[in-house]
């Protein structure tokens, strides 16, 4: 276990206006699980993209050695052939294709002309067994949950001989159960001799699984720690990541008055368009001014569907039941109507439906509220810059300028842009769907603080979250959802992780 399998020496990578990596040194021992942590925009994903050839040899300076040999990858294929497999922050499967087609995409088994489906399916079964997924390989990806999709991604990586497996925030979108399964799998792979590099903002799981932890900050290596050493705990990691201590992850709120009822749902039902499977099954819900209401539940329990059905129903479910805003019955035809009624919805999928990636930071922030910066029908671009800069500093968005395309921001900073966009709308009721997914501890704290400030001003917040500690730490009241129903509702004082989990699997 002594000599390193991977050594990255003095890696520097610049983008226009940003030094993403500044003389980074990174060394991984054979057979270990090595975690990489750091703030949003610290350079974690970039370092892994350098390693996997996404940023080809020559576009960075420094050297990469695998098992002592200098590597010069021109593309991902080169690194794959060298036994390095990477699973990105965003899933990259094709939903319309089957599991086996996805696994062998680009490496189809054929007799030279025709694909040998039977052989492919057979081999897929073997590989799926390795990742503990007992499912027919002929299933289409789109019918799988996120957790299972994640496993398929890993299966895809494992079809070739893999020496180093890189996972960029694999558990960000997973619930506790799926996360645990995944971490178990990584440990199992370790037994089989696979070295893993894991990026995560969930420090608990980092400490649970890592042999070694490397901390990046502002594109530099801060330290590399032995994770099994006694002195290494969450606080030590946080201090290294953000440069200061954070004692209380959930800032307290005091003396906030709960005001009149803002939103009221009565026997709220939603059916999928077309033949109409019932997605939401008669929900009653009520939220007041100054309240943060948490919605807990497993992935697929209908939480995002609930948020969307309230927020103008963009997916065109067939809806029954009534929604009242401040006592007035509403009939939102589209998100535009909902926004007019002072609702805002920060989506869980920032790339898919939250942001316009090819546009810059300032245009994304102003998009939902252009009338605010338009004077007699003409957009005041100077005012727009002022506003974008204000949210940039309020939310601490890390970007060289607000003219930077959002596509080029790190995942966590994209999330902050998405939040800034909806804060600019100045809503009365803010629906946050997984608001801290992919966000570092420091930034999480900042977002929680902003939430507290908002409710202090009388706003109401619905927070959908798969992270139970966050739900317990931030909510005044909690609804637990399971299979399209509320299986429980309680003030936070009466809630506990066990109780919520029990209700979440209650059908």
């Amino acid at each position: 276990m002594e000599n390193p399998i991977l050594e990255m020496k003095s890696i520097t990578k610049e983008f226009p206006g940003v030094k993403a990596l500044d003389n980074v040194t990174f060394s991984v021992k054979k057979g270990e699980i090595h975690c990489l942590v750091g703030e949003n925009g610290a350079g974690k994903s970039t370092l892994m993209k350098v390693l996997s050839g996404v940023h080809p040899y020559g576009s960075y300076t420094g050297e990469i050695f695998v098992e002592g040999e200098l590597q010069k990858y021109n593309n991902i294929r080169d690194s794959e052939n060298a036994g390095i497999a990477i699973i990105y922050q965003e899933l990259a499967l094709i939903p319309e294709l089957t599991i086996y087609e996805n696994i062998f995409l680009g490496n189809e088994i054929s007799n030279g002309v025709v694909i040998d489906s039977n052989e492919t399916i057979l081999q897929s079964k073997e590989i799926l067994k390795k990742v503990g997924l007992d499912i027919n390989p002929e299933t289409k990806i789109k019918t799988l949950g996120v957790g299972q999709q994640q496993l398929v991604e890993i299966a895809k990586a494992l079809k070739k001989e893999v020496k180093i497996l890189i996972l960029d925030e694999p558990t960000a979108a997973l619930n506790e159960n799926d996360s645990e399964n995944l971490l178990e799998l990584i440990k199992e792979l370790k037994q089989q001799g696979v070295t893993s590099i894991l990026i995560s903002h969930k420090l608990k799981e980092v400490l649970a699984i890592a042999d070694t932890v490397t901390v990046l900050r502002d594109g530099k290596t801060v330290t590399t720690l032995d994770a099994k050493a006694d002195l290494v705990n969450e606080n030590v990691l946080i201090k290294n990541m953000v440069g200061r201590e954070i004692d209380n992850i959930y800032p307290e709120r005091h003396g906030i008055e709960i005001g009149e009822e803002v939103l009221h749902l009565e026997n709220w039902r939603a059916f999928a368009p077309g033949l109409g499977r019932e997605i939401l099954k008669g929900l009653d819900m009520s939220i007041h001014e100054g309240e943060i209401v948490g919605i807990a539940g497993l992935m697929g329990s209908g939480r995002t569907e609930l948020a969307k059905s309230i927020f103008g129903n963009p997916d065109h479910y067939r809806i029954e039941g009534d929604v009242y805003i401040r006592g007035v019955k509403q009939n939102f035809k589209n998100p535009h109507d909902a926004i007019k009624a002072q609702l805002a919805y920060v989506t869980e999928d920032r790339k898919g439906n939250g942001l316009v990636l090819i546009q810059d930071v300032k245009r994304n922030i102003s998009l939902a509220n252009l009338k605010e910066i338009a004077k007699s029908g003409v957009i005041d671009e100077n005012e727009e810059i002022v506003i974008a800069n204000r949210y940039r500093s309020d939310l601490n968005i890390k970007t060289p300028t607000i003219e930077q395309k959002v596509r080029n921001l790190s995942g966590g900073n994209q999330q902050k842009v998405s939040l800034g966009k909806w804060l600019f709308v100045n809503p009365g009721l803010l629906i946050l769907d997984e608001p801290t997914r992919g966000i570092d501890v420091g930034a999480k704290y900042e977002i929680y603080q902003i939430m507290n400030e908002l409710v202090a001003k009388g706003m109401s917040i619905i927070m959908i979250s798969s992270e139970l500690p966050e739900v317990l730490g931030m909510s005044d009241r909690i609804y637990v959802m399971s299979a399209g129903k509320f299986t429980g509702e309680m003030p936070v004082e009466e809630a506990s992780q066990e109780k919520i989990m029990e209700l979440a699997v209650d059908y």
């Binding site: 535009h336 926004i339 007019k340 989506t347 942001l355 316009v356 998009l367 252009l370 338009a374 957009i379």
Partner: protein, 404 residues
């Protein structure tokens, strides 16, 4: 605004230099530079015939009916669609105008608004399956194109070409704005054209100064003052030169007036108004746009409605230019419009492209046409050259964008 005041302001300005600006905007400036290079090249190879007032004036008139289509096509492609029906719709509307005037004896002033509205309505009907049901625009507009083509053939059946005699109508594609007076010292030059040129120069300087002042007041970065002067000088020379050339041959044509109006309106809408932003957002990410309170359906209808309006206008301009409606009117217009948009930097992936870019694209394609015609190059070679230029322009655009 006094000079002293400006100097004082300049002292506070945060500035950036030439290289920075060029680097930020390579792909935008490139086509413009390419256009100038092409024009200079043809001026040499045709012994100045290309740059003669008469040819430039003609060029603007020829580009007119494609330019207005390119403007609409830019919007359509920005929102990730395509419109293959524009040529036939234009031909159809031209024929309708001709029939309305010659057979039904309607006044040109009644016919023009009716034709434009009819263009909008036809396009909206065609767009309904696209906007409401998500039918691919490729299919829906191709089908509509076939229908419009059939309608055109029906309309011209029996008579074939319909000759238009209306003076007002024919002036659209062939006439020039009237002059106010003659100044013997300037020979035969068109004085109103020169005046308009001068006004445009002053207006441009005035508005640019105002934008610059606002930016400085907000403490934003602006180009250095020297660079700003240089920019103004360049723009003034270009506008002045065009006005000078045109004034040597009948002055500004009505076609050019129409094109300038269309470009000005659409440039304003796309860059300065919420509607413009909404169009780019829908093109960039329709789901995100919808969740931001923008109705994708509404934007789709608006864009296709505009395309229908511009198609009808294009049809009128073309029929007017030929002083007749023919069975082949509009044939291949869509190819020229789509090519102009892509040469001008529009992206098929959606969300990217500018009106001015597409106009430059149209000018590039038409300059090639005109220059090669003057050189007497066979049309077979002309097609090949234009195809090559189209694909090279798009390749270049991809490469510069990737590097950014």
């Amino acid at each position: 605004m006094g000079l002293a005041e400006q100097t004082e302001l300049e002292a506070k300005a945060k500035t950036k230099g030439l290289m920075e600006i060029l680097k930020e905007n390579v792909s935008e400036y490139f086509m413009f530079i390419a256009l100038i290079v092409i024009m200079i090249y043809f001026s040499f190879t045709t012994d100045g015939a290309f740059i003669s007032p008469r040819n430039i004036s003609n060029l603007f008139n020829q580009v007119g009916y494609i330019a207005v289509l390119a403007v609409g096509m830019t919007l359509v492609i920005i929102i990730r669609h395509i419109d293959l029906s524009v040529g036939y719709l234009a031909g159809c509307m031209g024929a309708f105008a001709a029939i309305a005037m010659t057979r039904w004896g309607m006044s040109v002033w009644v016919v023009l608004p009716i034709v434009l509205i009819l263009g909008v309505i036809s396009s909206l009907v065609m767009a309904s399956p696209i906007a409401k049901l998500g039918v691919p625009a490729f299919v829906s507009t191709m089908a509509a194109g076939l229908i419009f083509r059939g309608a055109l053939l029906l309309a011209t059946m029996g008579t074939g070409t319909i000759v238009i005699k209306d003076q007002v109508f024919n002036a659209i594609g062939n006439g020039f704005i009237p002059d106010i007076m003659k100044i013997p010292a300037l020979g035969n030059r068109h004085i109103l054209t020169l005046l308009i040129g001068a006004v445009a120069i002053v207006l441009n300087i005035f508005t640019s100064l105002r934008t610059r002042r606002a930016k400085i007041a907000y403490k934003f970065e602006v180009p250095s003052f020297g660079l700003f002067i240089l920019q103004m000088l360049l723009m003034s020379v270009v506008i002045g030169y065009i006005a000078w050339v045109l004034s040597g041959y009948n002055g500004i044509s009505w076609s050019l007036v129409l094109v300038i109006l269309v470009v000005a309106v659409f440039q304003f809408i796309t860059t300065k108004t919420p509607l413009g932003r909404h169009i780019y957002a829908v093109g960039g990410n329709p789901e995100a746009a919808e969740l931001s309170g923008i109705s994708v359906q509404k934007i789709t209808f608006i864009v296709f409605g505009a395309m229908g309006f511009l198609s009808a206008l294009s049809g009128v301009m073309y029929a007017s230019r030929l002083q007749s409606a023919t069975t082949t009117a509009g044939l291949g217009f869509e190819t020229d419009a789509i090519a102009a948009a892509f040469v001008g930097g529009v992206s098929a992936a959606g969300g990217v492209g500018t009106i001015v870019g597409s106009i430059v694209g149209a000018l590039v394609m038409m300059s090639l046409n005109s220059g090669m015609n003057l050189m007497g190059i066979d049309s077979s070679i002309q097609y090949i050259v234009r195809g090559a230029v189209l694909v090279l322009a798009v390749i270049f655009d991809r490469i510069t964008r990737k590097n950014q």
